[in-house]
Symmetry: C2
DNA sequence: TTTTTTGTTCAAAAAAAATTGAACTTTCAA
DNA sequence: TTGAAAGTTCAATTTTTTTTGAACAAAAAA
């Protein structure tokens, strides 16, 4: 019997736990685990970190670190900061929920919604090609249903942003 | 030059388009493409379909059809119906947004949120193990930030459901 | 019964997505 | 300039997820 009766999970440090927390969070919203880990480490760090820090502390490749940072910057979840008047780039996690959610909606949700809206339009065009009147009426109704969903979805996003902003 | 000057996408039938629409939608919310296709075909069908219909019309395996239907039933997106007083099982798409979103939240969102909440609790426990007071104060603040996010998230879901329920 | 039809399960195969790392580019200091 | 440090890119690899299909189980018809 081992001296410690604590389960495995008890041995993790706070920063390891934060990294794991954000790794899981990233997977949930459909982002690569490495992206979540990078954000987690930055979030858990009292001072800005370099790409080399990420590579070392997360044991990931330079490629992953570079690509992950790129994605996080695009999402507005990480920002470049001056530090140590050093030529290296330093990074910091953004902690404003409004900004994080806003970036996610802008980069991940909107493009999908726009493409969905476009496809829906194409669908409507093609109604003319349906000759059987009964089937056509059925499809018309189905398309109306999706359109109702779509207009709700379009209202929800700004509402959500408003709710999360402060 | 080919006689038709229509691009490829113009040749699709309405049901093919609906299948493609829901395949994309499924991928976006992190469900397998086949699950989206099954829902799409059911949504596009004026009458209930059997598993054999799905296998034939979507050209998927019996295994995929069975698993996909299972998931869709769990989500409350598809229901069993009596039809043709036939021994076979017949299925129909559910078209109530409230129910679709509710099922998704119940099956996919809540479990993740609960696990996140648990992890957050563990994190808080471990604050005691941080001896450096400055670092500890930093972590305390970080955890507070996540807790604020978390309580917002917990308010958002019922709000969302209320908004979507007619 | 026995046979046929219907549906499920799950190990293996295929497909998709993430990650690596080496080659390349950029930037700055010497 | 040249060299070294920092960062990016992307084809190849690894990992993860999805899909398949054959074996199995359940249920009803013959």
């Amino acid at each position: 019997m081992h001296p410690s009766d604590q389960p495995d999970t008890e041995k993790l440090t706070i920063d390891q736990r934060l990294i794991s927390f954000f790794r899981d969070g990233a997977k949930i919203i459909g982002l690569p685990a490495s992206v979540g880990e990078i954000f987690g480490l930055l979030f858990a760090s009292p001072k800005p970190l370099t790409m080399a820090d990420l590579v070392e502390r997360l044991d990931i490749s330079k490629g992953s670190a570079s690509q992950g940072l790129k994605m996080l910057r695009t999402l507005g979840a990480v920002r470049d900061v001056e530090y140590d008047n050093d030529r290296k780039g330093y990074f910091e996690a953004d902690i404003e929920l409004k900004k994080l959610v806003g970036g996610f909606i802008r980069e991940q949700v909107r493009p999908h919604m726009d493409s969905g809206t476009r496809k829906l339009g194409e669908l409507e065009q093609d109604l003319d090609t349906v000759s059987d009147p009964e089937l056509r009426a059925f499809y018309e109704n189905r398309i109306k249903i999706i359109q109702r969903w779509s207009s709700k979805a379009k209202l929800v996003l700004p509402l959500l942003q408003k709710f999360l902003g402060e």
